[in-house]
Symmetry: C2
Subunit: 384 residues, 2 copies
Amino acid sequence: MPQISYEIIAECPDTRARVGLLHTPHGSIETPVFMPVGTQATVKGLTQRDLAEDIGVPILLANTYHLYLRPGHELIRKLGGLHKFMSWPNAILTDSGGFQVFSLSGLRKIEEEGVLFHSHLNGDAHTFTPQSIVDVQLAYGSDIQMVLDECPEYPVSHEYARQSMLRTVRWAKQANDHFRMRIADSPTRHALFPIVQGSMYPDLRKECARALLDLDTDGYAIGGLSVGEPRPLSLEAVEATEDILPRSKPRYAMGVGMPAELPEYVARGIDMMDCVLPSRNARNGYLFTSEGRVIIKHARYREDEGPVDPNCSCYTCLNYSRAYLRHLFQGKEILYSVLATRHNVQRYLDIMREIRHAIKLGSFLEYLKCARSIAAEAEARAEV
Amino acid sequence: MPQISYEIIAECPDTRARVGLLHTPHGSIETPVFMPVGTQATVKGLTQRDLAEDIGVPILLANTYHLYLRPGHELIRKLGGLHKFMSWPNAILTDSGGFQVFSLSGLRKIEEEGVLFHSHLNGDAHTFTPQSIVDVQLAYGSDIQMVLDECPEYPVSHEYARQSMLRTVRWAKQANDHFRMRIADSPTRHALFPIVQGSMYPDLRKECARALLDLDTDGYAIGGLSVGEPRPLSLEAVEATEDILPRSKPRYAMGVGMPAELPEYVARGIDMMDCVLPSRNARNGYLFTSEGRVIIKHARYREDEGPVDPNCSCYTCLNYSRAYLRHLFQGKEILYSVLATRHNVQRYLDIMREIRHAIKLGSFLEYLKCARSIAAEAEARAEV
């Protein structure tokens, strides 16, 4: 019995793109959807009201690893789960912590039972197992949780990638068994997605996807992207499994991507994406606009009375000039991060809205071509 | 002809407290009023919408010194003035830069014509004169501007304090003459307040206030407070001039104070105050509540599901727990500063609302006594 149901409501005949409705305990979400990243149970600089009411974010991603270390899943459970803890009314997806264990923690040891690692905060030793990570995410009350996976760096040998992928599949099975046992008597609906790995080897990705089909889960994630590989390889990795993963289930490409890449993933059958870029780049002074990138510190914006993006209707663009944002950035003001993040997250949500709209209207192929030529142009100019 | 008119609408028979209406080009303000500090044309962490619409701030203070150095008054003028630059719909008061020149800039030299100083940002040499500071604030378009003053540190000798006060009076006259000439043909109404100085010597403060009366300005500021003196001395400094400054004009005590001090200043005839404490203390983890101070990092708040202040109706208190705020503080999250500042500024505004309410109802003396006993109790407990 599916925990989180999914229905396709429009399809693009020329690509794999589709619009769907993902029904979660915290609302029905139109896909393709972009999930802002709330690592420590906060999207840096934005209030939950900004996100839910102003920007209209239907689902957030939070990081299992970070919240496990601080404040701890037991505290979050005690305080009523992650939604209540952070006062978030809409859906939450949590990752498995695999990516963070492999990217953030110094010492780590992978064993068949799980992964031993040291906290990046204080060096304390911890172990994640496929089962414990399900328990942690159930304590959070995540609407959609991920299985523990190994996320290999790039590049790795085919042999290493295969052994790692096979372990990820074994872990996924164990996680799924444990998850089904744990939720058997639970009144709350949660979904668990396994993660396709296999580094940048299409044959391994196909093998992995086929093996995961047996688990009959409510959706599938594609992991191991954005680990340093050239961008075309990320798209190829997604393409490798597009015919294998069941079209009736949502697919989530983890950790992608740049604005111009969003329609590319959608064209390859992806329904869900998350990325720190809109928020992190905002804080670093990089603003995404419908006309290309704005590097706000540049002197050319010193007297610029216009909004960050003349085509944007976010709170920032409706009320503040580039000159004011540049002034705040120069002064290292908190309000700079608040306003810049607000705009960048809105930009990502707007792109996803445009994409869904184009699919519904049957014009997605034109949209994709147009997005490609704008991206190429922007690349050439480098900046607005 | 007054630029900014003021009318008293209620008075406390037992103290000097009164409720008034200050009519500015950007709205009529009920006094006594607290002005949050927006040093660099932003109250750190809060959007202008949070301030104007949610919290209901009718007037902000911005710092002449900081904005003169960056982005510069000419740029602000070019972009339509400070209100437009920072997208602020309500009134703005700017200080004279005197306090900052004396507290922030390293090298400085006081001469009869003005003060030479070096920027704390890059060491560049600048000069402020009584006239130039009027011009700078006219470029900002401040509703209420301050004259250049010398703000001596504490303690200084009576002789130094007297010479310095006399120079401040001479500067105030020059500033006022220049201001009247500059605004003679201006359609916009702006007010200029001179500043009472005299260190902690009541005789000098009285002499200063008497000398300033000749200028017939729209209001008076009391400066040289919060420069390191014991708190009772600040109140004495204000008391020294309460019978000299005309009761028909608003009086502004610069840079005060702690929550418990607000009614004390009001009882001494003060109508306007500003202070960085609500915003700075918020960022540092100190939250003001109706029940005393909350130091959010303390372990006792780890599992505390309650709001920062159960009697507060700010966005933070209505939506987030102490446990969540503590988590954000521990994680050095921007959202911590945003939510904490929002609460503390709201707390100050609420205190001022209570004070005005009590004066109107004729219960201000009881309010003051009650506030004193709560403050004494809180002092004894040190924390909620």
